[in-house]
Chain length 151, copies 2
DNA sequence: TATTGTTATACTCTATAACTATA
DNA sequence: TATAGTTATAGAGTATAACAATA
């Protein structure tokens, strides 16, 4: 890193900032997950919603939005796409709420997504000393929790 | 966290995934930085570019784009905005390259941005045990470096 | 009154393709 | 041939406002 800076003559003074490396690391993991999930094909957010519905049969799209910090209005096209792909089903419970569940095809896709995500997680965990992985996770959870207090 | 899941009845099975907490933590820090920099007012990317130009007088916008992983085409409006705000200057070196530098007003804004970013970094570092901060940084750098190999 | 689902809309960020002028 | 800067454009992701139906 330092050698690169001397070679190119460019002083990358922000490379050691926590916020910056956090953003870059997040982008790298998200990009890699997107590439891995393209084999199914599902986007990371679609795979995540599928998994959450699988573990919470009968939940609503508003509940999922709250968990994932996605606004109600932005959940609409996401759920519509999964519905159009035949991976989930809607069933009215209220006059205003609709229970979500996985179709048989959705179950298959969910399992495939889980396998890909599991491999993806292991791949990146393997970059670090095993003893450091839990510390990284808890540090990130602590930082992420700082957002719940404000917004 | 576990207690929350039991209270709400919602099984948030992705909350412990590295990629997910990484994305959430990054969003929280970026959002907080955006809020803090609104006092100037500069966006995080503008403040970052200002700082890089200050440390690399005479560099080109293409060089900055390479460092920040921003495509040439997307650098154009960013540089144009900083130019319109009177914070930077362009001076032709080649027929095709233009050297960037800070104006006196840009220097003032750069210093203000540095102070805000410094306080922001310290605020989030203070959430963690001091001994864990360096480990977090190096883990994130290791993960971010995995992106340089692919794309 | 508050919530669910929805529509419409706008803004940011990111990506590609294509062009020019130059090295 | 490769690079710097630019234009146009398209796709995500995210934000707000407003509405109808329901609790």
């Amino acid at each position: 890193m330092k050698e690169d800076q001397i070679e190119t003559g460019f002083r990358d003074v922000i490379a050691d900032r926590l916020g910056y490396v956090l953003r870059r690391a997040s982008g790298v993991m998200m990009g890699a997950l997107g590439t891995a999930l393209a084999a199914i094909p599902l986007r990371p957010v679609e795979a995540t919603i599928l998994i959450l519905i699988g573990e919470n049969t009968g939940c609503t799209q508003s509940e999922i939005g709250r968990v994932l910090a996605i606004k109600r209005a932005n959940m609409v096209p996401l759920i519509a796409d999964l519905l159009a792909k035949g991976l989930i089903e809607k069933r009215p419970v209220d006059g205003r709420s609709q229970a979500l569940s996985l179709t048989p095809q959705g179950l298959v896709q969910r399992d495939a997504a889980e396998a890909i995500i599991h491999a993806h997680e292991r791949r990146f965990e393997a970059l670090l000393p095993p003893s450091k992985v839990a510390a990284l996770r808890s540090a990130l959870v602590r930082i992420a929790a700082e957002g719940d207090e404000e917004g």
